[in-house]
């Protein structure tokens, strides 16, 4: 615990491993770490598979390091649904920073979790925050529809799109339009980038009202998403992206002066933890002492129904 707070890489890495593997000790350490969180800026990077997220993160690391800020990266890749294994390939694009002590890159596999992150990414971010990293960059898996969880976790969400892949249409379907604070139209060395930028701006303009009224979204009031062209393989447009990130950060910090805004964020953070806690508790209750087996038996012999049984199981949790 002390070691983690002193930013001991080895201790931090091991704690992350326990969190990832769901080892019991991790929870009590997380509790103690919580009071040390709240300082890091958390930036989510999401977008279609292969849009250039990792290459962009690589560029962002370089820029933040030039500003003498320390950077932690959480890079999530999908687990194979067949073997449960994974090849975690984001890091290879950031390997230039392997020896920089001001950078900590950690790869995770989704292990079946949907939504673009792992089941414990929020905890992982807390650890990095408590360790005192100035920035935590969270790269999601390539998102499809509904995989927009990162936005609940990040202070600033960057959506990376590549032109000419039908991403624009995909964006509306996936609800990506609503989650982005900043759009990076990457690979703009290819044809079609200007068109993508135009279409995005148009759609944002049309959807202005809806975006600002989003219930779920806790974002600085009055912020309109920026659209920026980048070529992350060549470092083009990254300065502009950094400017937009800084502006959004400022807007976010301003918003934090408003107790209502802070309350909304805390409320959401709590609900996320609550949901996970409830699920974990419920799950382990069912898995242990034949509880699930009994449930299934009752269903099979027709003596009860799933609704009643689920409610009984939840009630049983309270008595534990």
């Amino acid at each position: 615990m002390e070691d983690v707070l002193n930013r001991d890489i080895r201790a931090g890495a091991r704690l992350l491993r326990w969190i990832d593997d769901g080892v019991g000790e991790a929870r009590s350490i997380l509790k103690q770490l919580y009071s040390h969180t709240g300082k890091a800026a958390i930036v989510g990077i999401t977008g279609n598979p292969g849009a250039g997220k990792s290459t962009l993160v690589d560029q962002l690391i370089t820029r933040y390091r030039a500003q003498k800020k320390t950077v932690a990266v959480v890079a999530v890749d999908p687990s194979s649904p067949f073997s449960g294994g994974a090849i975690l390939g984001d890091r290879i694009r950031m390997q230039e920073h392997a020896l920089d002590e001001g950078v900590f890159i950690r790869s995770f596999a989704t292990r079946g979790h949907l939504g673009g992150l792992t089941g414990t990414t929020a905890d992982v971010v807390h650890v990095f925050d408590a360790m005192g990293w100035d920035l935590v960059l969270v790269e999601t898996v390539g998102v499809g529809q509904d995989e927009v969880e990162v936005q609940r976790l990040a202070h600033t969400t960057v959506v990376v799109m590549a032109p000419g892949m039908g991403d624009e249409i995909q964006a509306i379907k996936a609800g990506i339009l609503e989650i982005a604070d900043i759009f990076a139209v990457n690979k703009s060395d290819r044809d079609g980038a200007d068109r993508t930028v135009r279409e995005l701006r148009l759609m944002l303009d049309m959807g202005k009202e809806a975006i600002q009224q989003q219930q779920e979204r806790v974002c600085p009031p009055g912020w309109m998403p920026r659209v920026i062209k980048t070529v992350s393989t060549k470092g083009e447009g990254i300065d502009e992206l950094m400017t937009a990130l800084a502006e959004h950060r400022k807007a976010y910090e301003n918003a934090c002066r408003d107790p209502n805004f802070v309350r909304a964020r805390l409320r959401r953070e709590f609900l996320d933890v609550f949901r996970r806690t409830l699920f974990t508790r419920g799950w382990s209750y069912l898995m242990h002492e034949d509880h699930l087996k009994e449930v299934v038996e009752k269903l099979q012999d027709g003596s009860s129904d799933p609704y009643t049984l689920a409610k009984q199981a939840v009630n049983a949790l309270g008595r534990l």
């Binding site: 090849i87 390939g89 290879i92 694009r93 230039e96």
Partner: protein
């Protein structure tokens, strides 16, 4: 037509009756050894090829005469009756002193050309004292850091009498510059030296992966070299467009042919776009192929390559001189075909592969030594390898006539087939927008990956046989003696480098490096700067370091 239509009809009739009678009867009695016969590249091979399978092609258009368009029968008029191929063993290990000794031994044994294998730090543009060179110095080739090492490497070897091939890509220009200055110091002017630099960066991205700069600046350096050599080093082969490594990475024969020629098209295109006259530089392009184990497929590959290249140069690039149309090539027997099991068998493999290269009409040849899958060759093993070539040249009689397999129905058929398959790949690459784009998209890399995987599976299921590995294994094998590179080499080399740095004129060094940097920025000819810089003993690592600063580095795209 190759054959008279009436005669063809007769052949067809005869073949049909043979099929109905003898063949049917035989197959009824006993089926063939395999359900499907295929080459090592998994290309299906017919039972019998007869003249009617060859289509309605004209002899003069398709085969012609040796030394004449389309060069199917060879690029020289008298081929090996005039002069044998150059026997050129790829060699290099340890310090320049060690390798110089090996070169002089090989020349004494009747080798007719030199071929330099550099160690990895040199290939990647690092000096021996760089942290990344740790453990690598002198291991897979000879260490060359500065002009001093090149002087030692060619000590007592007259550069107006041998030709030298240098396998190097990213730093090719710098090493050629060193060679030019060494010759100059021997009193041999640049227009008198001959040889080859590999300088084929495209295949590095496709297969070999010893890259330094990203593709586009790499192409710029290459065109600078083309321009410089056209003017000052006219006998130098400026690019050796290499299929060898593509094949070693697991490609099929047709892929090797296709991607190599597509790379060639890429270079010619770049030269033309840089404003060079195609006939000024195309004659100095040469090729480098693999000699794998499937005997006829290899011979067909070389013959198809010559025909394809001459047509492409003439039709696509409108080259006018005969010398621009000729595909001249070096061959190396397939390293990947050698086995660590029962290594003596490698001598036999290499001999047959070498024979295919000669029957295919190669201009120069390296034969692998039997121990090369395990280490760099010992003096004994390299001697056997060289003798293998000498036996083919002097005992077998295959060099007595030109292109002896021409007119074999099977060989001509297979030549046509490989050409057709390769042209399809080239079409696909054109459709993607050219070879540089195709590489960026990972197209050739993926095709090769798939072919390699297919072969691996066939091998594990013993559908493809490797003697001593998946058939005819032996348990107790006696290990053979191997060449060991002493860790002392690294210390010695680093010490010599420090000595060079102490003795040279530091001001001159800084001035020359500055010039390199300026040329890199403003588009001046880099090759000219390299020559001036190495003369002042700027090291390879220093020069490449400056270029890294300007051009950036190519990163491993990490495709799985």
């Amino acid at each position: 037509m190759l054959y008279d239509p009436k005669a063809i009809d007769a052949v067809k009739g005869e073949k049909e009756s043979w099929k109905q009678e003898e063949l049917k009867a035989t197959l009824d009695k006993r089926s063939e050894r395999l359900p499907r016969f295929s080459t090592i590249s998994d290309k299906e091979i017919p039972r019998l090829v007869t003249p009617d399978d060859l289509g309605d092609s004209e002899y003069t258009k398709k085969l012609g005469m040796p030394g004449r368009y389309p060069f199917t029968r060879g690029v020289q008029t008298t081929m090996y009756r005039g002069r044998l191929w150059t026997m050129r063993q790829f060699a290099g290990f340890g310090t320049p002193e060690d390798t110089n000794q090996r070169y002089r031994y090989l020349l004494d044994q009747g080798q007719t050309g030199l071929s330099v294998a550099f160690h990895y730090p040199t290939l990647m543009g690092y000096d021996s004292d760089h942290p990344r060179s740790l453990g690598e110095v002198g291991k897979c080739g000879v260490a060359v850091d500065s002009l001093r090492d090149m002087e030692v490497l060619f000590d007592r070897i007259p550069l107006d009498q041998v030709t030298t091939s240098m396998t190097t890509n990213g730093p090719a220009g710098v090493l050629l510059a060193m060679y030019i200055v060494v010759a100059e110091k021997q009193g041999v002017s640049a227009d008198k030296i001959g040889g080859t630099i590999q300088n084929d960066i495209l295949k590095e991205y496709i297969a070999q992966k010893s890259w330094i700069f990203p593709p586009r600046p790499s192409m710029r350096i290459i065109t600078d070299i083309l321009a410089y050599c056209t003017e000052h080093v006219p006998r130098w082969n400026t690019i050796s467009i290499s299929g060898y490594h593509i094949r070693e990475a697991g490609s099929t024969a047709a892929q090797e042919l296709a991607f190599t020629i597509a790379d060639g098209i890429g270079y010619v295109q770049a030269g033309v776009e840089a404003g060079l006259d195609v006939d000024a530089f195309a004659p100095r392009l040469s090729f480098f192929f693999n000699a794998h184990s499937d005997f006829f497929e290899e011979i067909a590959k070389y013959r198809a390559a010559r025909r394809m290249w001459s047509r492409i140069m003439k039709e696509r690039f409108k080259a006018k001189q005969d010398t621009s149309l000729k595909l001249r090539y070096h061959t190396q027997t397939a390293g990947c075909s050698l086995t660590a099991q029962q290594p003596t068998n490698n001598v036999v493999r290499t001999a047959l592969q070498a024979l295919s290269a000669v029957l295919g009409g190669t201009q120069s040849l390296h034969t692998n030594s039997l121990d090369e899958t395990m280490a760099l060759p010992t003096e004994e093993s390299v001697t056997v390898a060289l003798r293998t070539q000498q036996i083919i040249a002097d005992e077998t009689g295959v060099a007595n006539t030109i292109d002896p397999l021409a007119g074999s129905y099977f060989v001509e058929w297979l030549t046509d087939q490989l050409e057709e398959e390769a042209l399809q790949y080239i079409q696909k690459i054109d459709d993607l927008g050219g070879i540089v784009r195709a590489i960026e998209l990972g197209y050739p890399q993926n095709e090769i990956g798939d072919a390699a995987y297919r072969y691996q599976c066939q091998m594990e299921k013993a559908e493809k046989i490797i003697v001593g590995v998946n058939r005819y294994r032996m348990d107790d094998e006696i290990p053979i003696p191997l060449l060991k590179i002493d860790e002392e080499v690294e210390r010695l080399q680093v010490q010599n480098l420090a000595e060079v740095k102490r003795k040279r004129d530091a001001k001159q060094v800084q001035a020359q490096l500055k010039k390199v940097k300026e040329a890199a920025h403003d588009g001046g000819n880099l090759m000219a700067c390299f020559v001036d810089a190495v003369r002042e003993y700027c090291t390879l690592g220093e020069i490449i370091g400056v270029l890294r600063g300007v051009f950036g580095e190519h990163k491993d795209p990490g495709m799985l």
